[in-house]
C-alpha cells in the first residue's frame, strides 16, 4: 500500500470519527472542537488531491473564521452540558434510523455505477494551484466573484441589523 493510500484511510477514519463525535457529544464546546478536527481532516484530503488553494482556504475560512464565530457565540451564551436540551429517546432513535436509511439508499444506488473503474488523480495536476485558479477566477469568473462581494456586504448589513438591540 502506498503512502498516499495509507494517508487516505487515516484521514477518512479521522473525518468520520470526529463527525460522529460532533453529533454525539453533549457539550457544545466539544462539538465545535470535533468539527474543527473534521475540517482539518477534509483539508488533508484536499492536499492529497493536490487542491492546495482549497485546503488553505478551508483551514482559514472554516476552521479559522467560522468555527471561532461558533465558539464565540457558545461562550457568550454560556452553554454547557447541563443547559443542553435533549430530544425524546424515541425521536432520537427515529432520527438515527432515518439518517441510516438515507446512507443505505445512497450507497445501494451508487455502488454499481460505472464510476468504479475511474480513478481520482492524487498528488499531481496543476488545477488546484493558486496560480491557475486565480487566473480563471479573475478572467471567466469575474462577475460571480464581484457578485459574491455584494453578497458579503448584504450579509454584513443583515447581521448588524438583526443583532442590533432595538
Amino acid at each position: 500500500m502506498s503512502i498516499s493510500a495509507i494517508l487516505f484511510w487515516v484521514l477518512s477514519v479521522a473525518a468520520l470519527f470526529s463527525a460522529l463525535m460532533v453529533v454525539t457529544s453533549r457539550n457544545p464546546i466539544h462539538s465545535v472542537i470535533w468539527l474543527i478536527v473534521t475540517f482539518f481532516a477534509i483539508s488533508g484530503h484536499y492536499i492529497l488531491l493536490n487542491a492546495q488553494f482549497l485546503a488553505v482556504v478551508n483551514i482559514i475560512v472554516y476552521a479559522g473564521a467560522i468555527m471561532v464565530l461558533f465558539l464565540f457565540v457558545i461562550m457568550l451564551m454560556n452553554l454547557n452540558k447541563e443547559s443542553e436540551p435533549a430530544r425524546h429517546r424515541w425521536l432520537q432513535l427515529a432520527g438515527g434510523v432515518s439518517g441510516g436509511a438515507l446512507l443505505l439508499v445512497l450507497v445501494a444506488a451508487l455502488k454499481d455505477t460505472e464510476l468504479k473503474s475511474q480513478q481520482s488523480l492524487m498528488l499531481e495536476g496543476n488545477t488546484g494551484l493558486i496560480k491557475t485558479l486565480g487566473q480563471e477566477l479573475f478572467s471567466n469568473y469575474v462577475i460571480p466573484f464581484e457578485l459574491s462581494s455584494i453578497l458579503f456586504l448584504s450579509a454584513m448589513v443583515g447581521a448588524v441589523l438583526i443583532g442590533k438591540k432595538d
Binding site: 446512507l103 481520482s120 447581521a159
Partner: protein, 112 residues
C-alpha cells in the same frame, strides 16, 4: 484512489450531518451539522474535479485546466457558507436574547 471511495466517504459524512440535524435540539449544533453536510459536498466536488484529469490532458485537443470549474464551485460554496453563518448566528443571538434559550422548539415564536 478509486473515485467511489470518495463517493462513499462523502455520503457517510452527509448522512452523519443529517442524523445530527434530526436528533439534536440545540440550534447551534444543528447549524454546525449543516456546515458538515456542505463540507461533504465540497469534498466530493474536489474528488470529481480530478476524475478525468489524465484523459483530458491526453486528448487530441487538450483542455487547458480540466476540472477547474468544480474547484471554483467549491470556492463559491465556501463564500455562501460564510455569509450564511454570519446571518444565521445573528438570528440565533437575537433569539437567545429574547427567550434565553437556543432550543429549536421555541423557534415557532419567531412568527409572532
Amino acid at each position: 484512489m478509486p473515485i467511489n471511495y470518495y463517493l462513499f466517504l462523502a455520503i457517510a459524512l452527509f448522512s452523519i450531518g443529517v442524523v445530527g440535524v434530526l436528533t439534536r435540539r440545540n440550534a447551534i449544533i444543528i447549524f454546525m451539522c449543516i456546515e458538515l453536510m456542505l463540507n461533504a459536498v465540497n469534498l466530493l466536488l474536489v474528488a470529481f474535479s480530478k476524475m478525468h484529469y489524465k484523459q483530458a490532458a491526453a486528448a487530441a485537443i487538450p483542455i487547458a485546466n480540466p476540472g477547474i470549474d468544480g474547484q471554483l464551485f467549491v470556492f463559491f460554496i465556501m463564500v455562501v457558507a460564510a455569509a450564511e453563518v454570519s446571518v444565521g448566528l445573528a438570528i440565533i443571538v437575537m433569539l437567545y436574547r429574547n427567550i434565553h434559550s437556543v432550543d429549536i422548539n421555541f423557534l415557532n415564536r419567531l412568527k409572532h
